[in-house]
Symmetry: D3
Subunit: 144 residues, 6 copies
C-alpha cells in the first residue's frame, strides 16, 4: 500500500500583538517593530495541515476528509478564527507566548497530534501569515 | 492621446471589530455575527486604487508610479497598516463608522481624491478583505 | 449616502460537456473541440456576484453578508456544486443550453436578481472557469 | 556539482465520481458524501511534478524543460485533461480505484518514473484539487 | 439575446527598459528610477483581453475561444513573449514609445481591434506587470 | 525548544538570456529554444528562502524577520532586482553560468549561507520563475 500525504488548508482571520509586559516599551519596540503597536493588528492567515498514512485501497483515502475537517474545525477554526489571539487564546495571554507564526504552528501541532487515528500521523503544520511569510513545524525539538 | 487607467495594489494588515456601543449586545450579535467578538479579529487586506488620465507620450505614463506610491504610503499604509482600525483611526472610533470593507473603501476614496494632480482622476477604490470578499467605491452618492 | 458595491466569490466544483445532440459528431467536434469529449470534464469554478446599493450609515453595510450568503448558497452552491451541469441542472439538459461560462453567468444572474431586496441591485455575475478564462454578464440584452 | 530539484506544474480539467458499485447506496453516501453524487462533478486540478539530479554546468539544467514537458504532455495532459476519470482512464473504471487526489498522485508517479533518464529521479507528485486540498506521493510503501 | 463579455488571460515573459535617448542620464534616472537601469529588467506579464457580444443561443458562446486564442497567439504571444520589448518590437525602439504597462495596453488594443468579427467588440485590455500593478485601456481618447 | 522553519518570499524583476557563446547558434537554439532569443526576456521571479532553528521562548522567533530582511535585501534584491542577470551579475556573464532557475537557486544559497547567525541554518532556496515552474536547492552535492 502506498503511503500518501494529504494537506488541508484552513483560513482564519485573527488579530495579534507582539508585546512582553515585563520589558520596557523601548525594548518591545526595538525587538518587535511595528508588530508591537498598542492595539494590535491582523491577518487573514492560512493554516496548512499535512497528514500521512497508507492509502486505503477501497476508498483511495489516507483519511476521510470529513474527519480531517471536524478536527480542524475544532482545533483551528474555533480557537483562532475571528479572535484576537493574545486575549482569546490562553496560551498567548500577556506574559505568555508571543503569537508569531512560529508559535502558532507549534500550537496547532500540539492540538492536532492527539486527535489523529493511527496509523495516520501528522507531518507538518504551516502557518502562512501573508503571501510573503510562513512558518512550519514538523515536531522536532532542538538538541542544543 | 489615449486615456488609460492605472491600478496600484497596496496590502495592509489590520484588526477591526463591528460593534455599536449604543446597541444592546444581542443586537450587535444578531447584526454583526462573529465580527462583533469582543476583542476583534484581523485581515491581510489589499487596497486597489485605480486612477485614470491621458498617457504622456514622452513617458508612456498616466502618472509617475513613484508619486502614486507616495500618496498611498501616506493615505493608506501609514493610516491602516499594523493598526486596529477602531482604536487607531479616529473616523472608526467606537460610536463612529463601522470598519466594513464598504466604509474603508469610502474612507480611502475621500483621502486620495484631493491628492491627485489634474488631469488625473480617481476611478475606483477596492478593499479586498480576503479572497472571497471585496467592496468597491467609485464616488457615487445614492439619490434615494 | 455613498453607493458602494460588494462582491462575494463562491467556488463550485462541477462537470460539464459541450454537445448538441441534433448535430452530427463531426460538427460537435469542430465547434466544441476537446470540450465535447464523450463523458465530459470539470472545473473548480468561481462565481463572483457583485451587488450595489447605499451604504447604511449605522452598519457600514450595503447588504448584510449573511443574507448575501444565504442567497448564494441556495442559488449557486446547491444548484451547481458537486454537479454534472448537463444532467443535474434542467436548463442545461441535452438539447437545451450549452453550459459555457457565458451561459452559466446568465443563469446565475436570472436566479439572483429576484432575490435581492430593494434598493440593492445586481451589478454583475462573473463565472471564472480557470485562471485564464472568465465570462461576465451585467443584464444587458443585445439590440441586434 | 550541486543537486537541484525542478518542479513543473501542469493544470488539467477533469470530472470524477467517488463510488463503489459493490457497496449499497447508503454506504457510498456515508463514506463519500457529496462526492458520490450520481453524475459526478469536476475540478481544475494542478499536477506538480518534482524531479532532481545534478545540475549540468554547461546548461545550468537538471533536465531540459522541453523533455520534461513532453513526458508530462503524454503522461498527464493526454490521460487526464478534459476527461471523466472514471470512464476515460481504465485504472479508475467502476469497481477499480476511486479517483481521489491520493490515488491520482500514485497514478502519475507510476507513469512518470520509468520515463525519466538517469541520473534524474522523481522526487514527488502533488495533485492539487483546489486551493484548499492537495495530496502528495513520494514513492513510499507502507510497512504495515 | 443576452450580451455577455468574455475575458481571456495570456501570460508573456518579456524584458524592457525605460529610457529616452534624447534626455540626459540624470533626467532618465529622475523620471524612470530603477526602470532605467542600463541593461533592462523583466516581468512575467499577464495580458487580459475582454470582448463582448450577443451570446449565440446554439453554442452558448460570444465568440469561439479557439478563434480568440488564434488572435491572441498572433497579436500578443508572438509579438511579446520571450522578447526584449525595446529591441524586438519596432514601436518601442529607442526614441519611440516607452514600454510601460499603459503603452503596452494601447499597443495590444490597436492590434486586436481590427481582428474581431462583428458584432463582437473589444471592451478592455489589461496589462498586469506584477501582482501589485496593472494598466487598462478601453479605447478612449483624452478630450483635453 | 521546538525547531521551527521560517520562509520569506522576495520578488524580483529580472531579464535573462540562455546562451553559450562558444556554441554555434543552432546548438544554442536546439538546447535553449526560445530562451536563447537574441535580446533576452524576463520574469517577475519569487525567491523563497527557508531558514530553521530553535524558537526563542521569549520572542517566539527563530530569527528576527528584520534581520532576515536585511540579508535578503543585500543578497537578493540588490543583486537581482531590476537587473539583466547576464550583464549585471558577474557569475552569469557570457561564457559563465547560464541563468536558469536552478543556477539562480544555487547562487542565492551560496550568498545567504555565510550570513546566517548560528544556530540558524539555511534549509532551502526556491526560485519561482512563473506559476508553473520552480527550482529548489538544499545544499546537496551530487555524489556521481
Amino acid at each position: 500500500m502506498p503511503t500518501v500525504s494529504l494537506t488541508r488548508v484552513v483560513p482564519f482571520a485573527a488579530a495579534h500583538r507582539y508585546f512582553r509586559p515585563e520589558w520596557p516599551v523601548e525594548r518591545n519596540r526595538e525587538v518587535f517593530g511595528a508588530c508591537t503597536s498598542e492595539h494590535g493588528h491582523g491577518h487573514t492567515y492560512e493554516c496548512h495541515v499535512t497528514v500521512t498514512g497508507p492509502m486505503d485501497p477501497e476508498t483511495g483515502m489516507v483519511m476521510n476528509l470529513r474527519d480531517v475537517d471536524v478536527i480542524l474545525e475544532e482545533e483551528v477554526t474555533r480557537r483562532l478564527d475571528h479572535k484576537f489571539v493574545n486575549y482569546d487564546v490562553p496560551e498567548f495571554a500577556p506574559g505568555g507566548l508571543i503569537p508569531t507564526g512560529e508559535a502558532l504552528a507549534v500550537f496547532v501541532w500540539q492540538r492536532v497530534v492527539p486527535r489523529l487515528p493511527a496509523p495516520v500521523r501528522l507531518v507538518r503544520v504551516r502557518i502562512q501569515e501573508d503571501r510573503y511569510l510562513y512558518a512550519e513545524y514538523a515536531g522536532e525539538e532542538h538538541a542544543g
